[in-house]
């Protein structure tokens, strides 16, 4: 069973392992559940039941043309979480997936037992690098990605064609960029209402790092761990990130 309908859209869902429930969300544009599936998720799945899904418009989930704003993505998450676990569960997100996870945890206190935010931007739209990224063509976006992905793209074969087509769809046929630009900041006093333990993992070289420092300062039960790397930590530091997450979940 790998497809479920939520909010009227078909979502690609996979589960790994057995144990207490953990839901993991990937980042936008270049991400899919594969960002976790072959990196940190197997380590977490050794002692947990891990559910992964492709965000709307990504991977094998339905190509929605609208609804890329945090509240709508948060309601996708709510529906998928309800199908996954009636009990409180641990929630892990990377990048915009982390922004969505944070939004959900604030709206649904009591549902999230522990929260892991990996390089969450806050708000997504105020990051200068993201603004610059959003202004590029899909081909130019691809050029700013980590090395291994670029090698595949340089060959201009099937992988590259499909990857650029995915970016082109999101960039030109959906409301994604407009939705991102509208993303709001979350005031410190709202962040301070978060009760569950929160682990913030940020890349030492990431432009999002100040957000991690801010979260660790204003969220009562949060701590910050810095890993060597930039924004794409699941790919850049999969083992260290997996260790960090499992230690936090089991601690």
């Amino acid at each position: 069973m790998s497809f479920e309908v939520h909010n009227g859209l078909k979502f690609h869902v996979q589960e790994l392992g057995a144990g207490p429930p953990v839901l993991m969300l990937h980042g936008l544009l270049v991400g899919s559940m594969a960002s976790w599936y072959f990196t940190a998720a197997p380590a977490v799945a050794k002692a947990h039941r891990v559910r992964l899904y492709d965000l709307r418009g990504h991977g094998r989930s339905e190509r929605a043309t609208t609804g890329y704003d945090v509240p709508t993505m948060g309601s996708d998450l709510a529906s998928i979480a309800n199908a996954f676990s009636p009990e409180p569960f641990a929630l892990v997100g990377h990048s915009y997936g982390a922004s969505t996870a944070l939004h959900y945890a604030l709206k649904n206190p009591g549902r999230v037992s522990k929260l892991v935010l990996v390089d969450a931007p806050l708000p997504a739209s105020r990051l200068e690098e993201l603004e610059a990224f959003l202004g590029r063509t899909p081909e130019a976006m691809a050029e700013s990605l980590p090395g291994a992905l670029q090698d595949a793209l340089a060959r201009k074969g099937r992988q590259a064609t499909r990857f650029v087509e995915g970016l082109r769809f999101l960039a030109t046929e959906t409301s994604l960029f407009a939705d991102l630009r509208r993303a709001d900041d979350i005031p410190d006093e709202v962040l301070a209402t978060l009760k569950c333990p929160v682990l913030c993992v940020y890349g030492t070289q990431s432009s999002c790092r100040p957000v991690g420092e801010r979260l660790a300062r204003v969220v009562p039960n949060a701590r910050l761990v810095l890993l060597e790397g930039g924004h794409f930590l699941p790919v850049e530091a999969p083992v260290a990130l997996g260790d960090c997450i499992t230690e936090f979940l089991d601690g």
Binding site: Q14, M33, Y37, A40, A41, P42, R60, D151, R158, Q159
Partner: protein, 101 residues
């Protein structure tokens, strides 16, 4: 699929069929897939297609093949250079372990 007689040849045939299904495009149906075929260079499999392949492997071999866990133990260069034969040998190892256990 039975638990007996999993030779590299029979596993290669099974894996090749799964790979063709995952790609799901006409060009792949007549494609020769050998032990030396590279997932990245020759087949140009996308990462999300690897997820589907992992799921198909689990089903085809009764949950005895942990493709995700195996890939997670490799670095990125190893994954990029991965050959069908390396996967076939891993599957054969998994199956021989679970039949003798």
């Amino acid at each position: 699929m039975t638990t007996m007689n999993h030779t590299p040849e029979s596993v290669l045939t099974a894996v090749a069929t799964l790979v063709r299904e995952v790609i799901g495009e006409d060009w792949a149906q007549d494609l020769e897939i050998t032990m030396a075929t590279s997932f990245s260079d020759d087949l140009e499999l996308e990462s999300i297609e690897f997820v589907t392949l992992a799921e198909r492997l689990k089903v085809a071999f009764d949950n005895r093949v942990d493709f995700a866990g195996w890939l997670a133990s490799m670095d990125l260069q190893e994954i990029i250079g991965l050959k069908v034969g390396t996967l076939v040998e891993y599957v054969v190892r998994c199956l021989s372990k679970s039949t003798t256990a």
